[in-house]
C-alpha cells in the first residue's frame, strides 16, 4: 500500500503518485488509497480524486498548520502516511466493486466509426462488438468532462488510434475508443475518439443524487442492444 511519492501541486493540493503508467494494478492501489482516506474523514479536506496512477488531495492550507507553523503539506502528509502504511489491509478487490451494466447500440448512425475500427482491428463488425461486450472494465478515473469515465480493460485487439481530425461535436452517450482507452461521452462534447456505439443511459445529471452513474473504481460491462431497445430505454 505504501510506495508513493507525495508532491505538492499548489498551496492547497497534494498529489500522491503511485506510478507513471496506465496499469490496472497501480490504479487499484490508487482506489484503495482513496477509499482509506475517505473513510478516515480527515478534517478540512475537500477533495480526494483518483487518476490513473495518482491521487489528488485538496485541503485548506489555513487550517492544516500546527503550532510550530510547519508547512501545511507536511502536516497533511503526516496524517495521511499512517493511513496508507498498514500492510494488513488489502486493496479493494475487484469482487467488492459495484458492477454497472451499460446498454449500447453499436454501429449505424450511433456508431459511425465502428466499421473503420473493425477494419483496423481486422475483425468484422459483429466480432468487434462481441469482443467489446466480453471484457470486464473498471473506471480508472473520471475527467475531461463531468461524469466522463476512463475505462481500463479494453481488449488489445480493439486498440484503434484516435481520429486524425477530432469531431467538434460528439453526441451524448457515445461509446468511443481512443488508442488503448475506451470511454463514454456524458454529454455532447468535442472529441477525437472513434465512436462505435451509443448508450441511452444518462451518465451525468447534476439534479440527480449521485449525479454520476459511474464512480471511480466501479466495474463496467457493456451489453449490446438493438435500435428498438435503445428507443425504449431512452424513454425511461
Amino acid at each position: 500500500m505504501s510506495g508513493f511519492i507525495a508532491e505538492p501541486l499548489s498551496e492547497d493540493a497534494l498529489l500522491l503518485r503511485f506510478g507513471d503508467s496506465i496499469d490496472p494494478a497501480i490504479n487499484a492501489r490508487v482506489h484503495a488509497a482513496a477509499a482509506r482516506l475517505r473513510a478516515a474523514n480527515l478534517p478540512n479536506v475537500s477533495d480526494i480524486a483518483p487518476a490513473y496512477a495518482s491521487l489528488l488531495i485538496r485541503f485548506d492550507p489555513l487550517t492544516w498548520v500546527d503550532a510550530s507553523e510547519k508547512n501545511p503539506h507536511a502536516c497533511l502528509l503526516a496524517a495521511v502516511e499512517p493511513l496508507l502504511r498498514d500492510p494488513g489491509a488489502a486493496p479493494v478487490s475487484a469482487a467488492e466493486s459495484r458492477i454497472v451494466e451499460i446498454p449500447v447500440c453499436y454501429g449505424g448512425e450511433f456508431g459511425p466509426d465502428l466499421d473503420e475500427a473493425a477494419r483496423r482491428a481486422q475483425l468484422d463488425a459483429r466480432e468487434f462488438i462481441v469482443r467489446h461486450t466480453a471484457a470486464d472494465y473498471s473506471v480508472a478515473m473520471l475527467g475531461f468532462a463531468p461524469g466522463f469515465p476512463y475505462l481500463l480493460g479494453l481488449d488489445p485487439i480493439l486498440h484503434v488510434p484516435r481520429r486524425p481530425v477530432p469531431r467538434t461535436r460528439v453526441p451524448a452517450g457515445s461509446v468511443a475508443i481512443g488508442g488503448a482507452q475506451t470511454g463514454i461521452y456524458p454529454r455532447e462534447l468535442p472529441g477525437g475518439w472513434q465512436i462505435i456505439g451509443r448508450t441511452p443511459s444518462i451518465l451525468f445529471d447534476a439534479a440527480r443524487e449521485p449525479p454520476c452513474v459511474l464512480a471511480p473504481g466501479d466495474r463496467v460491462r457493456f451489453r449490446a442492444i438493438d435500435g428498438d431497445e435503445f428507443a425504449v430505454l431512452a424513454k425511461t
Partner: protein, 320 residues
C-alpha cells in the same frame, strides 16, 4: 424581490466560492475567479462571504431592480449609474424598486462583482450557486440573457437607506501589473535552458481566446529539453500547462479536473486574482517563488481580507 436583466453585458454569471468535493466525478469547482473582490463586494452588501453574486466580464449589464436593495460593486473599474447618476465602486449603495443600474465597459482588468444584500437566490446545484459555463452546471446552466428575472433573498436585517458615503481603498485588491508569483511544478526542470530563462525574463501577452477555463500566454515558445509521455493527472487552478504549441496556458477556475500536458509551473493561489484580472492584450510576467513564501503570502492576504471584512461589518452596523 427580483432584478431584471435589461441588457446582458458580455458574460455575466452567478458565482459563489465554488463547489468543492466533486473532483473525483470530473466536476470542477468553478466559483468567483477574483475571490477577494467577490468577498469584499459581499462584505459591503452586508452578506456572508459566500453569498451568490454576479461576476461580470469586460462589459457590465443593465439591470432593473423590482425591489429596494443594498448593493455593492468591487473588482475591475467600470462606470456605473443608478438612473443616470454616477455611483462609486467599493462602497455600500442603496437602490430603490423601479430604478435602473447601468454598467459600462471596464477601463482596465477583466472581472467585477455585483453583490446584493441577501444574495441572488438560485437553487443550489451540487451544493453550489456558481455557474460552470463550460460544463453547463449551476444556476440557469448558462450566462445571463436579456429578460432573465433573478430572485434576491430576503435579508433579515432590514433594508433602510443609509446616508453614509464611504468606500474602501481598492488598491490592495486590484492589480493588473505586478508579476505573478510562480512555484516550480512537476515538469519545470524538463524545460530546455532557453525556455527556463524565458519563463521569468519574458513578458507574455494574454491571448484573445482566454476565459474562465484558461488564460493563454503568447509571445514566447517554450520547449522541453526532451519529449515526455504523460498520463492524465489532476490539475488545479493556476497550473501552467505547456501544450505542443509551446504557448503556455494558465488554468482558470473552470479548468478540467485532469489533464495530460506537462506542468511547467504553478501560479501562487494568492496571485490568482491577478490572473483573473488580466485581459487579452495585457502583459504578464512571472516571478519565482517558493512554496513556503506562497503559503506565507496566502496567510497574510487572508488575515488582511478578514480584517477588512470585519471593519466593513463594523462600519455597516454603525451606519445603521
Amino acid at each position: 424581490m427580483t432584478v431584471e436583466v435589461i441588457k446582458p453585458g458580455l458574460l455575466i454569471t452567478p458565482q459563489d466560492l465554488g463547489r468543492a468535493g466533486f473532483a473525483h466525478l470530473g466536476i470542477g469547482r468553478a466559483g468567483a475567479f477574483d475571490v477577494p473582490a467577490f468577498r469584499l463586494a459581499n462584505a459591503l452588501a452586508a452578506n456572508a462571504r459566500d453569498a451568490c453574486a454576479l461576476e461580470m466580464t469586460l462589459l457590465g449589464p443593465t439591470l432593473r431592480f423590482h425591489c429596494d436593495a443594498r448593493i455593492a460593486v468591487a473588482g475591475a473599474p467600470l462606470p456605473m449609474q443608478i438612473d443616470g447618476a454616477d455611483q462609486p465602486m467599493w462602497s455600500p449603495l442603496f437602490i430603490r424598486a423601479g430604478q435602473t443600474l447601468t454598467f459600462g465597459a471596464m477601463r482596465s482588468g477583466s472581472r467585477t462583482y455585483l453583490a446584493v444584500q441577501g444574495g441572488f437566490d438560485f437553487e443550489p446545484v451540487l451544493g453550489g450557486r456558481s455557474l460552470d459555463v463550460n460544463a453547463a452546471i449551476g444556476p440557469l446552466g448558462r450566462p445571463l440573457h436579456a429578460g432573465d428575472v433573478l430572485a434576491v433573498r430576503e435579508a433579515g436585517n432590514g433594508k433602510r437607506e443609509t446616508k453614509a458615503h464611504w468606500s474602501i481603498d481598492p488598491r490592495p485588491w486590484f492589480d493588473t501589473e505586478s508579476p505573478l508569483r510562480l512555484l516550480p511544478a512537476t515538469h519545470t526542470h524538463l524545460l530546455d535552458a532557453e525556455s527556463r530563462e524565458a519563463l521569468f525574463s519574458q513578458a507574455f501577452q494574454v491571448g484573445n481566446d482566454s476565459n474562465r477555463v484558461g488564460v493563454r500566454l503568447c509571445g514566447a515558445q517554450l520547449r522541453l529539453a526532451r519529449p515526455v509521455e504523460l498520463i492524465s493527472e489532476a490539475c488545479v487552478a493556476g497550473t501552467l500547462q505547456l501544450p505542443p504549441s509551446g504557448e503556455p496556458i494558465a488554468l482558470g477556475v473552470e479548468h478540467p479536473v485532469s489533464g495530460g500536458y506537462p506542468r511547467i509551473g504553478q501560479i501562487a493561489v494568492v496571485d490568482l486574482p491577478r490572473l483573473a484580472q488580466r485581459r487579452p492584450g495585457d502583459a504578464l510576467r512571472f516571478a519565482p517563488c517558493t512554496l513556503e513564501q506562497a503559503q506565507r503570502a496566502l496567510r497574510e492576504r487572508e488575515r488582511q481580507l478578514r480584517e477588512m471584512e470585519r471593519l466593513i461589518a463594523t462600519r455597516l452596523k454603525h451606519d445603521a
